[in-house]
Symmetry: C2
Subunit: 724 residues, 2 copies
């Protein structure tokens, strides 16, 4: 997306933006340009679907070869239509799309849905045509869905717009869906119809040349007919804008996303630990964690979770009570709920006493409450009333496997009636019955979420609980630190096309108020002793030479030196070691550094994703980062909440709390460094990657201090071969 | 299960065992004892289902209150039936079940299915009645399914036996199913009917008082009509017998299990690291890994995987090619396949060249192969033929989202026809269509596996690949080491009700040929010096005192002592430290031990699961075991293969391969220790738990040596309070 696009969007206020999308989703009249009478064509099917669904305004087919299409008078050109036209569907050959758009603009059409394909997605001539398309749209003020779209839907009674060319005839409902794949859009609509799930609006955004998923998210965020937003995405046009919009919309409406392309690896060569650890998917997960977006891994899961949310009740906590008439499914439900991070509610004693009175002797009044096979409608109603009234229960899962001698319809009736009297979510698992059965259909029609298997309910409650927890957490703020940007920038510039390392990297960190262990360079043994005294004993000496990549291989690292004479001899040995290894190697002296013994090694880093921009990383050092890759990423800019969450989310967190005799580390101290690194990304976009590795916490002499760092300017990334 | 049961089973050879189950699943005649004409009763429904399904032998209702039931002449007592009776269904009140069984035995009935419930599952009187039931069965020679069974099915045309009281009318097929839950059994049969999936046999085993899931597994393992075995289990009666049978059956037929109760924790207090790390579910996973059983986590997953296996083709490797007519589903498939551990096949150049010739310009000939929306039957057939013929492809996934202008029925026809010409598995994802559609039903009827979403296919192929790999791996053998059991047993006995620790624990390990670092006890400084010299410097000194639980808290551990005087002063300091800490503490001297510096710390342990018996554990020491719980368990007895697999399966394995400058460890050396620990479980059942922690590998002076160990006899576990 060009910068121009963003400016345009920023310029238009929410009202203007919504109006421009209303022209597409809430048109007063529609032209179908490329409508044909020929059966089996898209041009016929769109008109057919629009008319069968009974669009509330007039439909105007446009095709120079026909005077009537599908019983509608047909026009040769959109400009021949005597009435105003708000929206046009365009199904003409790809090379005619641009002149058609121009005609639309001249006619005063405000929105278009371009069904025609063969653009960017096929490359070559198609890509060229798409660029032209974008220019035309931009210069005309039209808003466009597509090209390569499967169409749009708005089930609102005032419009009744089914502008797709597929089989589905979407039911009205309160879910909005945007799909980057037309095929999956159609699949989802068909599956939804089978399940009796309804939609408010739907859009297949195709190549999203103008309007994107983020635009629709923003539009639906304010749409009073939409409660839940589903997205199938393959990529983000502008992840930063998505972040901003998603964070805002997620506060009030659940946004459930299938992001495909999970396993694709980042395209850029990594020049740092941080860069190497950041796969593309890490960014997506980080972004979703920060924005409250609910990520699901399949279309099936998307349905399950949406079904729960659309029922309107979100649990106030993780405590679930299961009520069942069969043991096996109760165990499966318990397994799945606990695996999903939920808790089996501990029922209040009064609830258990009351249940005991209502239930036969063989029944279990412990959660999962087993009503046993003989349970009829009144036993279900009594038990559900009791557990739903227990303040220790946040959500109720009802399992019912209809036995031969029980009136399933009556049980269904009481489920509906009981749910209506409680404000807690009640999710229903109805097993061992065809899901088209009449009594099940009635329950669904009453708005109760019905599932075939308990695992789907566990997945749903788990997603709901994560969303609740995200919304409950304080929003956090992104602090601005008073730092010496000028000097820091000068240091980066001075590195040219090389990485900033050693003492200069430490100096860079100090500009950002990040504590470092005392460090100095020395070209002679005498200088080294002087530096050692100023750092304070014990010290470490590290070889400086552009010709020794692995310092330790040439004896270039000496630790725990305690006296002047230790330092002197270590200096001589390092110099001699290098010469022995490579007589032509350049010797730049040594780096002298105070020892930071007894602490825990941490890693804080920054890398730049080509799509997502800067990502900040945190982890423990050593095996945790190298072997276990136990690191957490967040998308820049980070809030103080994000930084604290990163620290507690690593598997090795117990070590920061004092496990195995380690020093206890104050998370706020570490969060401060993480936030300062995030600020570097704002202040110095010329930086591509940063490793602070190790950052030592809780050492004998230093509460928190960087021991080594590597600042990699963009110039170094583009110029140097990968892997060096 | 009583020892007597096991003896009986062992005594009967395979032929006798199969004959006794044939009496149940392949009866020549059936009595329905408790049959009634009253609608909505189990007694009517079973007879109804048997007759509707057209059982091929005669049916004899038995009920003293009726002379005719459901058009069948009814008998007052089973003994009144003039003809021989092989099988009886029993649906009489629970207190009449035992006399009914006795009557059956006298009549010469050979097998019974007891539907009646109210036994062990309700406790009290029920449990007493169940014990009586078992006695009657055992003494009569009858074989019994149930009580509390939902019934059995055998679809074989020679029998056509539907002895259940539910709604389903099972389709014939090649899958056998055993369910420990009647409700889930019925649910699965109903769902299968909806999907068009057929069964060979089905059994709801209820309380499995006589016949268990393992019995059926053994029976179906030899059944020529069964290709795939499904099990829903909540517990194992005899895990060791299950292990033996499952390992054998898995060699020829896939065994797919939903084991419910995953999250239940072990019931016994742990007295060792190993014990604390072994949850119940760890045993189940270990057992399944060792036996080739395919564990799935839900009934839905069970169906998906069974559908793939029943098609008869198992991939010869992990390389999958996806052929699609829509981009989005292709991406979802790729994501799911890679996440499932499969590989996207790299097509041969010739295949790509040939595809290029067949496909339009906009199509992609890279995997996933995108035929684009215009793909018709002949394009699908051509592409599928090419990729299925490519030797780099082990399995083909076909995705088809029927577009408006494509004849879906024709595509379906070519899918069937193409699959018939190739011996590679071809799994089909048919999206955006109601699954009851005629053309889809035809594909299913042709025996092709059809799925609604690509994730289900990925799950299936992943399970198939794991099964293939398990079968391909050498069986392994369980070695027997020549060890000094007598001395080891004597040491354990000598510990009485306490744990064997320190030098005596090391001596125990030596009896089993496990190397230990030189260790000795010393009560005086002089003795300590003598021991230190004999161990070899440097040494460590460790306080011995029953009154100091955490030795390091009282300064009781001194490492890296290099001289006699170091040892002397360390001894004095340890003694003084203890006295300072607690003047009344008993001082038993110190343990002197050679230092094993520079190695990698490992943990090998043993614990005893109340159900599964001995479990052997392996892991890395330090954070890997304490913080990350990165350990692997196997059920005793282990084969050499099991031991090697355990070593390579931990996350920290790279450290044993030399990562981070660690010494490279020979897995065979470690496997040897693991196998010797497994042998301890065979030789010395009086041991409950063992920790060898740390076992140091690759140290300066020792290739592999135990540094500390703890042997906990059963007597110590039952007598000592938990957590001490």
């Amino acid at each position: 997306m060009s910068p121009q696009t963003i400016d345009l969007k920023a310029a238009a206020g929410p009202a203007a933006f919504d109006l421009s999308l209303d022209a597409i989703f809430r048109p007063r009249s529609i032209a179908v340009i490329g409508a044909t009478p020929r059966a089996g064509t898209i041009g016929r099917q769109i008109l057919h679907n629009l008319s069968q669904y009974e669009f509330t305004g007039p439909l105007f087919p446009v095709n120079p070869n026909h005077s009537v299409v599908h019983s509608f008078k047909c026009y040769a050109d959109v400009r021949d239509i005597p009435d105003p036209v708000d929206l046009a569907f365009i199904i003409v050959p790809r090379h005619v799309v641009v002149p058609t758009l121009e005609a639309c603009a001249r006619k005063g059409v405000r929105g278009v849905v371009v069904i025609t394909s063969g653009f960017k997605e096929v490359g070559g001539e198609g890509a060229r045509l798409e660029a032209e398309l974008l220019d035309t749209v931009r210069s005309s003020g039209l808003r466009m869905i597509g090209p390569n779209s499967f169409g749009i839907v708005n089930t609102e009674p005032a419009f009744r717009l089914n502008g797709t060319f597929g089989k589905p005839s979407p039911l009205p409902g309160r879910i909005a869906l945007v799909s980057q794949s037309g095929a999956l859009g159609e699949t989802i609509l068909v599956h939804a119809e089978e399940l009796g799930v309804g939609f408010s609006m739907f859009a297949s955004i195709g190549n999203k040349t103008d309007l994107s998923g983020t635009d629709l998210l923003q539009y639906w965020g304010r749409d009073p007919h939409t409660d839940v937003i589903l997205m199938y995405l393959e990529n983000f046009g502008d992840p930063r804008r998505f972040t901003r919009v998603a964070r805002e919309v997620s506060r009030t409406k659940p946004v459930i996303v299938v992001k495909a392309g999970r396993t694709a690896a980042g395209a850029k060569a990594a020049r740092s630990h941080t860069g190497a650890l950041a796969g593309r998917d890490v960014s997506v997960d980080a972004l979703f964690a920060q924005t409250g977006v609910i990520r699901v891994s399949s279309i099936q899961d998307m349905f399950d979770v949406a079904l729960g949310f659309v029922s309107g009740q979100v649990p106030k906590g993780p405590r679930v009570c299961v009520v069942t008439n069969a043991g096996g499914p109760g165990i499966l439900a318990t397994d799945a709920l606990v695996a999903g991070g939920l808790e089996m509610a501990t029922l209040a004693d009064e609830t258990k006493v009351a249940l005991r009175k209502e239930l036969p002797e063989q029944a279990s009044v412990e959660n999962p409450v087993d009503l046993i096979a003989s349970a009829d409608a009144s036993r279900y109603a009594a038990a559900l009333d009791l557990v739903a009234s227990d303040p220790a229960v946040d959500a109720v899962v009802t399992i019912f496997v209809p036995p031969l001698m029980v009136d399933a319809e009556a049980v269904g009736g009481r489920l509906i009636e009981t749910a209506s009297r409680h404000s807690k979510p009640m999710l229903n698992c109805l097993m061992g019955e065809r899901h088209g059965a009449d009594w099940i259909r009635k329950i669904k029609r009453a708005g109760l979420p019905v599932y075939a298997y308990p695992e789907s309910i566990a997945l749903t409650l788990s997603a709901m609980e994560r969303w609740r927890a995200w919304r409950a957490r304080p929003e956090g703020r992104t602090p601005t630190f008073d730092v010496d940007v000028a000097t820091a920038a000068q240091l980066v510039r001075s590195a040219g096309r090389e990485a900033l390392v050693g003492a200069r990297a430490m100096q860079f960190l100090e500009c950002y108020g990040i504590p470092t262990v005392p460090t100095g360079g020395a070209k002679s043994a005498q200088e080294a002793v002087k530096q050692a005294r100023s750092c304070g004993y014990p010290v470490a000496l590290k070889l400086l030479s552009p010709d020794a990549i692995h310092k330790s291989d040439v004896g270039g690292v000496r630790l725990d030196l305690r006296t002047d004479s230790d330092v002197e001899s270590a200096f001589a040995e390092i110099e001699a070691g290098l010469a022995r290894h490579n007589p032509n190697a350049r010797f730049d002296g040594v780096c002298v550094q105070a020892m930071a013994a007894g602490g825990t090694e941490l890693v804080v880093g920054l890398t730049t994703d080509p799509q997502f921009g800067p990502l900040v990383m945190f982890g423990l050092g050593g095996v945790f980062v190298e072997i276990l890759k136990d690191v957490v990423f967040r998308v820049h800019p980070l809030s103080d909440r994000d930084a604290l969450e990163m620290i507690t989310q690593i598997h090795g967190y117990p070590l920061l709390q004092g496990a195995r005799g380690r020093p206890v580390i104050d998370p706020a101290l570490v969060a401060d460094v993480i936030l300062r690194v995030s600020q570097m990304a704002s202040d110095l976009p010329e930086i591509d990657q940063i490793d602070i590795n190790p950052l030592v916490a809780g050492a004998d002499r230093f509460k928190l201090a960087a021991v080594d760092a590597r600042i990699i300017p963009q110039a170094a990334v583009t110029e140097m071969p990968p892997g060096t």
